[in-house]
Symmetry: C2
Subunit: 206 residues, 2 copies
DNA sequence: CCCCGTATCAAACGAACGTTTGAAGGATAG
DNA sequence: CTATCCTTCAAACGTTCGTTTGATACGGGG
């Protein structure tokens, strides 16, 4: 009798995502993970090799898609000569918020991402920068063009604040229940709009 | 021969602060802490009772002063009828940034605080809310008065973004080297001014 | 002087950790 | 049926964890 329709690998990834989000990478043990996933303890090392590799696999499963969608959205912005700062921010925010609001563990993943943001673990930072940093750098170039009046140094630390604030906020959004009577899409559009406006105001501030 | 001019208790608190900031609460072991503090392993449980109590003591040592200074600064704002939103934000930001920029472990503490912000650990959240939540609620009241046009719900989640963004940013600021030739106070004032403007723009955004 | 409370120490406790092992299934191909 | 490969399993590996213990040193007050 299998405990779920998903494969052992997928069940491990799902359970790990939820537990890493809740207790952190060091705080969640492989025994907790395999117990929640209803698989044998040895399955983690069999399928992933080590706990560190499992952590990377959890990131990879979501970030490949998230990064691709952010990249595609940004490409559309760059193709449009009339695109505004708000459009670029939308390209950054929308894919992440859709992920945070989906029902298949996306919220847990965003909380895990926010945790990784707060951690200054060298190995994890290098992994994320090496594999997913190029899209962030593409965004930086576009923001630099749209905010040409800002000194490079000033722009970079504003982007740092904005990226941190957005990641932190979106991580918590999966937990907040939306107001009764509003549809899922209305809630999402409302949130995106406000996040974009909030971020744009901060980036443009004189 | 003592390894430092400070007492065993103080050396433990200092080492714990630095290691918790770097590796997290679960990730930093008492053996790392006591080794860095040059004290015996048993000293932690002798002076603090448990690792959890040590964590709380590390918070208490800094937060008592930080909260008091924020409270005092806010009281001055409330006493001034002409005070602006920027003044209130200054009252929130300045004490924390001064802590983050001081040379006696303040930077490590702010990184630790940002970590606690990202963690959703129930015990830690309750401890912080019970002991230090009242000042944050005072700020919320003032912001509510200064931004009366915003719906309560809207205000609260904007404050949530701002508090998170500021905490994250200030946590990283202790790590950033200031531009050559600028004085410590000039650097601080520059940073505070920009953080205040950034936060005010986000809070006021139409 | 002895006593007593405080502090430090090396050593050990049981529990939990990540990882490895070797045997047992279970499906598929020859 | 046998052989092979992939997967799962219980059990154990050595290590490290937070915590506890009992001995030892120290330092005034009676």
């Amino acid at each position: 009798m299998s405990a779920s329709q998903f494969s052992t690998k997928q069940r491990i990834l799902g359970a790990a995502e939820a537990l890493f989000a809740q207790h952190g990478f060091a705080g969640a043990s492989l025994r907790q993970v395999t117990s929640a996933a209803n698989v044998n303890l040895a399955a983690v090392n069999y399928h992933f090799g080590s706990k560190d590799n499992l952590i990377e696999a959890v990131f990879r499963r979501r970030l490949d898609a998230l990064n691709a969608r952010r990249h595609a959205a940004l490409a559309k912005v760059e193709a449009n000569p009339a695109a505004t700062l708000e459009d670029a921010l939308d390209a950054f925010i929308r894919p992440a918020l859709e992920l945070a609001l989906d029902r298949h563990g996306g919220a847990a993943f965003m909380r895990m991402l926010a945790r990784a943001y707060a951690e200054h673990d060298e190995r994890l930072r290098r992994f994320l920068s090496d594999n997913y940093g190029h899209v962030l750098r593409e965004f930086a170039v576009v923001f630099h063009r749209m905010l040409a009046h800002l000194a490079k140094e000033e722009l970079y630390w504003r982007l740092d604040i904005v990226a941190g604030a957005l990641t932190y906020t979106m991580a918590d959004f999966g937990l907040i229940k939306r107001r009764a009577g509003t549809s899922e899409t209305a809630h999402r559009e409302y949130t995106i709009e406000h996040l974009v406006r909030f971020a744009a105001a901060g980036l443009r501030a004189a």
